[in-house]
Symmetry: C2
Subunit: 380 residues, 2 copies
């Protein structure tokens, strides 16, 4: 059983075929606009710009944050390389913060002591689609006048619940947020991403950077009479083929999400007792977070225990995989990192295991298999 | 009649459908490899990496050139913003060179005086798919130890012919070359690009930068036992959906090229006398270049004459358009440019007009229309 498999909803080819009929294959056409409108309206995102990847959306955010060499940004070490690379490309010094002990997300209480006069932004990663404590982070950001970027690569259709019980979509809370539509995500276009802007100050420049540093968008809106080179920028926009593909996925979002949340619950309920007996931890969803069924992970008691479990599953035809290596101890960064030990980040690097998770996964047979592993695990 | 229209060859949806069957939608799958192999074998490119755009391929080239703040790069002013942006993003100072008087390509004889100890690279743009004099440029590059990047966005299937009469494909001559598959190009995937590497020194790092700064490629080749963050990088690779689309175009490359070259010849032969009578210049293909039928342009005697011609064509239902604004006099750059006047670049900005050019364009009716314009033009 494979670890991941993108879900094809059925209308993808039909919508791509519609794109071919219009001969508007390049970006910023009808399907791009449909996707923008959908996200803005469903999740209360102020402004959306589709990108070729979440990485590219992060690079746009780094440009919009006006990161300059020497500026510092704070982010978790337990994250994908792109979270950091986007800011490294602008010359930022990355200050890595540890994960929480109960959850791979960044430890919100360890951020403040890392803020310096050079700090420009906090990059929040909603690991596994589970919210960080955005009230704490927004308060810090306000207090120190920092920008907040939500790396919401895994967090589509997930929410933060504030103390009054009000739900707000992840991605609507930071100055910027970025989403991924890579094939491993709940919704996919193969490769693809989205930049969300929630602060009007950045709207105009974002459109310019998106359109290769030109004021082409303003030109087509009739705001300027010719367009030219006005700023830095890149070709961040995906083709209409990509957006048409995504549109077919968006139409099935509720269906996909219902199914994925039910897989998650089946794993959780089916493995709760087994995990307890085996010193394995299941995911924690804090009271201020919701569950978007992106991923189901186990935290094993040790690196060795994880290795055994991966082997057992592989031997039984089930592909289960670990996740990130702590970025602070990577070959690229270890010499640049200060001396702080990030023990939780390293723990998740060593002990976290992800179970197969996709629309038509046979979760019950995986649960049954794991329940059989009881004895073997206890002997390790 | 529209100005541009992408040519759909017929197998695009079928190949995308094959991608869906494999569930490998993200990049670096079967179709990506087919495209790499095709280009490497047909054009004698040493190593190919598909990218999400030509802009992104240029950004990879800038990273591989190890451009640092203060480094200088020399490029034509009459080019697309991305040629410059990719290097501006790395902190380079752009030194713009004028176009030739007989052709919009950069004036090879004006490069040497612009080389300083800070110069790191020459960025050659093969405008309209017509080769720059690569012998001259390579000689300079060798003499001053500079890197050469061919911005071959428009130059697929075009060649440089050396003094011995040997033909070499554009893109195979610089240390790096970049191609575009934007919908306006001979071959398209809506948005898309290609980085070519012709110097083995850069192969390993290029794969790392392409894969988000990780050694994932080496891992899958069994060269390292786990992969992690080893360098800067981004998500430069396109989805398999994009590569499958392009593959359907590549299969028809000869057919597309034959048709496009015949359109070009029809325009040239049909308009030669008319142009001569009206002080309009037709494209020049130097003896060392071939013609890939990318574009057909006219150089009008004045800005005013071009305006009249555009209006005449538009009034008769034919969309004809100008091209680049000189980058050295753009809003973004004019304060950064030295005092040199780049008169040819400005002339092409003011006077160059592109005629509709696509697979099923009705070129003869456009030629007829222009022949009727004779009298009107002479009265301007």
């Amino acid at each position: 059983m494979r670890f991941n498999k993108p879900h094809i909803t059925g209308n993808e080819l039909q919508y791509i075929s519609k794109v071919l009929e219009t001969y508007q294959l390049a970006g910023n056409g009808i399907f791009t606009k449909k996707c923008h409108d959908y996200f803005e309206s469903k999740y209360n995102f102020r402004k959306c710009l589709m990108t070729t990847s979440c990485t590219d959306a992060l690079e746009m955010a780094a440009l919009l944050c006006e990161i300059e060499p020497g500026d510092e940004v704070i982010m978790p070490s337990f994250t994908f390389v792109s979270t950091a690379n986007a800011f490294v490309l602008r010359g930022a010094r990355i200050v890595f913060v540890d994960s929480r002990s109960d959850h791979p997300g960044m430890d919100e209480d360890k951020i403040e002591s890392l803020i310096s006069p050079k700090t420009k932004a906090i990059i929040v990663v909603h690991y596994a689609g589970v919210a960080c404590d955005m009230e704490k982070i927004s308060k810090l950001a306000n207090q120190y006048n920092l920008l907040v970027v939500e790396d919401a690569a895994q967090a589509i259709d997930s929410y933060f619940v504030n103390r009054k019980g009000q739900k707000r979509a992840l991605g609507s809370l930071g100055h910027f947020a970025t989403f991924s539509f890579h094939q491993t995500k709940n919704l996919t276009s193969g490769e693809g991403g989205l930049l969300v802007l929630n602060d009007e100050r950045f709207f105009e420049r974002a459109e310019i950077i998106w359109e290769k540093g030109t004021n082409r968008s303003a030109f087509f809106k009739g705001e300027v009479d010719k367009y030219g080179w006005v700023d830095m920028g890149s070709s961040f926009l995906p083709s209409e083929i990509t957006s048409a593909f995504l549109w077919a996925q968006l139409e099935q979002l509720n269906n996909i999400q219902n199914r994925r949340v039910s897989i998650w619950k089946a794993y959780y309920d089916g493995l709760k007792d087994w995990a307890g007996c085996n010193n394995i931890r299941l995911p924690v969803i804090p009271s201020y977070a919701t569950n978007n069924g992106h991923m189901f992970y186990l935290v094993c008691p040790s690196f060795h225990a994880r290795k055994c479990l991966i082997e057992f599953l592989n031997d039984n035809g089930v592909k289960a995989v670990f996740h990130y290596q702590s970025l602070h101890s990577s070959e690229f960064f270890k010499e640049k990192h200060d001396d702080r030990v990030l023990e939780n980040s390293d723990k998740y690097s060593d002990c976290l295991l992800r179970l197969p998770f996709y629309y038509d996964v046979d979760e019950s047979s995986i649960i049954d298999l794991l329940l059989n592993f009881n004895e073997e695990l206890q002997n390790k």
